[in-house]
Symmetry: C2
Subunit: 228 residues, 2 copies
């Protein structure tokens, strides 16, 4: 039987001390996520969101996901590798969505015609999302921003930011399933430097944990407080 | 820029042909998931479930998750390795849950006391789940069984099977987050044979895709048909 470090079993208590931060529940209008981002696109919204989740609850989620400070360092290490490749990564991800009608449907109107302006605006925010994920600033500001991303995929705020004529909601099943194409297709980009296979393995795993954390946070508007 | 196989971009159409099967929407009372399972525990339920999802929709989910026949073969290959280690794997997973109060809460009553009979019954079904996941029979019977697992985590049917005195629901955030402890701690068990690192990498990735598929299917009772 393989040995499992005891460390793993008490991950909850170990991570908590480093990632619980004080913080209110009111969204900050001066959030760094509301200024100009990648490609000049802004996250600004007329209805700023504030995640109902507390920083303590975020800490428990992080600990369950083994998303500790070592993982944060790996994500930040990946930023230097990924930043010059953002457009190429987006080409792959948009190619995948475009080739799959059930995914492209989220960008299309009831007649099945994709909204190209909407696709373009989302692409810039998707580029910023790559950098934000690699920045791994899991603070109150970031948590509120995740809640807003969830709202913008849910019918609550879908299409509003861009005045898009598209499906009224992104089905949660596909929002969650994109975890795999994103984390799998990221690998060759991580491999394009002199990082060793072990280092690439570690960075890719850190990305998995960070993306899963976000998928979970984005699910919040899809269910009641009791269910989430 | 790394090259991305075109294959990946049209995964949707490639996988579909092999995994769409005909099948009704009525749950089959003679389902193999209702007979005696691991440790003699049965899935039998007074209220058989039938997943609202069609086999075509399951096929689209599988294709989005790159869960093709190659992945099925990898899962089945892992079965021979994992079956003799089921108890040891459960020791690790139960150790993790037991060490984290926010996870153990799902098995505890309102006074915070864990229901040991409930923990024991769930453990046997968890053992069977390892074997079922490795079997990778993604048919109508399996799909209905996933829906029932979702219902039993949701307030719809939580505690009913075992007459447990425990929390009325498993919070979705933790149900989804367990993806990481499960797929990470599985690795040393996959490594305990003479499989090469590349083979272990591939089996672990197949497990990630199969577990994520199930997490997504389990989320269905937590939201409306439109949202899912």
């Amino acid at each position: 039987m393989p040995s499992i470090p005891l460390l793993l079993l008490v991950a909850g208590s170990l991570v908590l001390s480093s990632c619980v931060q004080s913080g209110g529940t009111k969204a900050d209008p001066s959030s760094r996520y509301r200024g100009p981002g990648y490609g000049g696109e802004s996250w600004s919204s007329a209805t700023p969101s504030a995640s109902p989740l507390s920083m303590e609850e975020l800490g428990l989620l992080r600990s369950t996901l083994f998303l500790d400070e070592e993982q944060v360092a790996l994500l930040r290490k990946s930023r230097d590798i990924l930043e010059p490749q953002v457009e190429a990564i987006l080409d792959v991800w948009y190619g995948f969505v475009g080739a799959n009608p059930h995914l492209l449907a989220s960008f299309s109107n009831s007649a099945g015609v994709p909204d190209t302006a909407y696709l373009g605006a989302v692409r810039k925010r998707f580029g910023q999302w790559i950098l934000d994920t690699a920045d791994a600033e899991f603070d109150r500001d970031w948590l509120d921003y995740q809640y807003e991303i969830g709202l913008r995929h849910h019918s609550t705020a879908k299409n509003v930011t861009d005045g898009a004529d598209a499906a009224p909601i992104v089905k949660f099943r596909y929002l969650a399933a994109l975890f795999t194409p994103i984390t799998v297709t990221l690998r060759p980009f991580l491999e394009s430097t002199d990082a060793s296979k072990a280092e690439v393995d570690a960075m890719q795993e850190a990305w998995r944990r960070a993306v899963l954390l976000q998928v979970i946070l984005w699910s919040q508007p899809y269910m009641s407080a009791t269910e989430f």
